[in-house]
């Protein structure tokens, strides 16, 4: 279980302090939690803070009761936090199999590595030996990124906008991947998304706008207001950027 206590993140911009996150308090206990909200609201910053990529300027993070605020990226990864980037990273020379093997943390046969790729809808043998470089499309890289997280089998899998930059066909497949993950993955999934179909799978939805938690609840509680079908649009009317 992940707990965020009073997490803040400030940056200097034009010699002024700017609050990206303001006293975020959250407990991630459910199997599938989606974070949504307007662009620039601080969602990706929060995901990076959880993974240890960014250090909060205030507050504490607990994992299964242990304070991990000062732990670095590697230590958090070893404790069971995995992270799928919004913009997957390319590597000259490293192959898809190399990365899947590193993610699994143990030697993998080609067949075993292929299974992870098949789970994200890639025809595995076409990809397993390919370099993770510019020859792969954004959608292909995204799926490989997700396959790496699946291979890690961690307590908490964080996905930063997995739908960004992929086509509609790939997106439909992506939904199926997350539905399957929801059913099969033992740990928790924390996913940042703008997509209603992804939010619909979630056990809980968190709305973050203007660096603050504006809403937290089940999809039945959050979605109507988020989609402004309940007669109000409160998440977007209080200064969300």
């Amino acid at each position: 279980m992940l707990e965020l206590r009073n997490i803040s993140y400030e940056v200097s911009e034009d010699q002024k302090e700017k609050d990206i996150l303001k006293n975020i308090n959250l407990k991630i206990e459910d199997r599938f939690v989606a974070i949504t909200g307007p662009n620039g609201g601080g969602k990706s910053t929060l995901a990076k803070i959880i993974a240890g990529i960014l250090k909060p300027t205030g507050g504490q993070i607990f994992m299964d009761g242990e304070d991990i605020t000062d732990k670095n990226i590697t230590e958090r990864a070893k404790m069971g936090i995995s992270f799928a980037f919004q913009q997957p990273v390319r590597f000259k020379g490293l192959t898809v199999k190399d990365l899947i093997t590193m993610a699994a943390g143990k030697p993998l046969s080609t067949a075993a590595a292929c299974e992870y790729l098949s789970e994200v809808g890639l025809c595995a043998r076409d990809y397993i030996g390919r370099e993770v470089n510019a020859s792969l499309s954004g959608g292909e890289l995204k799926r490989i990124e997700i396959a790496m997280v699946i291979a890690r089998k961690t307590k908490l899998s964080v996905f930063d906008e997995p739908e960004a930059g992929i086509d509609l066909w790939s997106f439909n497949n992506l939904i199926q991947v997350f539905e399957k993950l929801h059913q099969e993955v033992q740990g928790s999934i924390l996913i940042i998304s703008h997509q209603e179909r992804i939010l619909n799978i979630a056990d809980k939805i968190v709305v973050i706008a203007d660096g603050e938690v504006r809403g937290y609840g089940s999809k039945d509680e959050i979605l109507p207001e988020l989609l402004c079908t309940s007669g109000s649009c409160k998440f977007y009317s209080e200064g969300g950027r």
Binding site: A77, S82, K92, M148, R152
Partner: protein
């Protein structure tokens, strides 16, 4: 000659430069400390000692298929300067692999140097894969110097792949490769270099695309660490309807220095020539990605470099 005994140092060098852990099968010529110590020929591959200068001539009969030649050079005597001229004649329609390479173990304080001048003559439709590795080791403070020169002449329809690797222990190298390609000839060169400490590596390619529809692809990947220096020069001359591509990719670390100098000359309206060069440090996002998989920063760096030079 097949019963030649190699000591532990020689066997280590042989493993490093030729991936061999014993005297190879097939045709070979092993040179150790300036002397030929073992040779084997086959029905299709002859190896003859030059009479006018140090070195050998290797003759591969036309039509020879799926045979290989190993010609490693091993040096374990400090202070030795070895100069060798090897000429390779690849017959028409032959398809062979040649594995060369030089390993120096310098346990003393004097400079050890190997200069190898290799000339390749590919006849019509001949195919060659040429693998060359350079490796240095030793517990002394004497420098290891290797200066390989490769001259390639390719006739109509011939094809050559050249894989050149220098990963460790070579303090100074000046690598020169020159090629002339005839009609429909194809040349692919892949070079991988890593330098450490104060090592210096200079590599220079000059390719003349003389024949119609000839093509060349020169790819260099290198990693410069410590205060080492590297210089990459690539010159492609398109003298006919042809395609030429050269690519230099370097990772720069610590206080090292890398220079890439491309030169393309089109002397024909249908010459298509491209050069790409990229020099930069390891991207922070690459390190972070691998760290999110549980690797330490040092482990991530090693994986990125190993992959880059793989």
């Amino acid at each position: 000659m097949a019963n030649v005994q190699l000591d532990a140092i020689q066997l280590n060098l042989l493993g490093q430069v030729a991936d061999l852990h014993e005297v190879p099968e097939g045709a070979y010529n092993i040179r150790s400390n300036g002397q030929g110590i073992a040779r084997n020929t086959t029905a299709n591959i002859d190896i003859v000692t030059k009479e006018d200068k140090p070195g050998i001539d290797i003759y591969i009969k036309p039509g020879t298929k799926k045979e290989s030649v190993h010609i490693p050079v091993l040096m374990s005597q400090t202070g030795l300067k070895d100069l060798v001229y090897n000429d390779f004649y690849i017959g028409e329609d032959a398809d062979v692999t040649i594995v060369a390479g030089c390993g120096i173990h310098n346990g003393g304080s004097k400079t050890s140097e190997h200069d190898g001048i290799h000339r390749f003559f590919l006849e019509k439709n001949a195919r060659l894969k040429y693998v060359e590795k350079h490796y240095g080791t030793g517990d002394g403070n004497g420098e290891n110097i290797m200066n390989p020169t490769t001259i390639i002449e390719m006739k109509e329809g011939s094809y050559m792949e050249m894989d050149s690797v220098q990963i460790k222990g070579v303090d100074s190298t000046d690598r020169i490769t020159k090629a002339k390609l005839g009609k429909d000839a194809t040349l692919i060169i892949r070079e991988k270099i890593m330098t450490h400490g104060k090592q210096v590596a200079k590599t220079s390619f000059e390719v003349d695309l003389d024949g119609e529809n000839s093509s060349a692809n020169v790819m260099s990947r290198s990693v410069a660490r410590g205060s080492s220096r590297q210089e990459f020069l690539s010159k492609i001359n398109g003298n006919n309807a042809c395609a030429g591509h050269s690519e230099c990719d370097s990772i720069i670390m610590d206080s090292s220095n890398v220079t890439a100098i491309p030169e393309l000359t089109a002397n024909h309206i249908d010459a298509s020539l491209i050069h790409e060069a990229a020099i930069g440090k390891i991207a922070g996002e690459q390190l972070i990605k691998l760290m999110t998989l549980g690797l330490t920063e040092a482990e991530a760096e090693a994986q990125i470099i190993n992959g880059f030079l793989k």
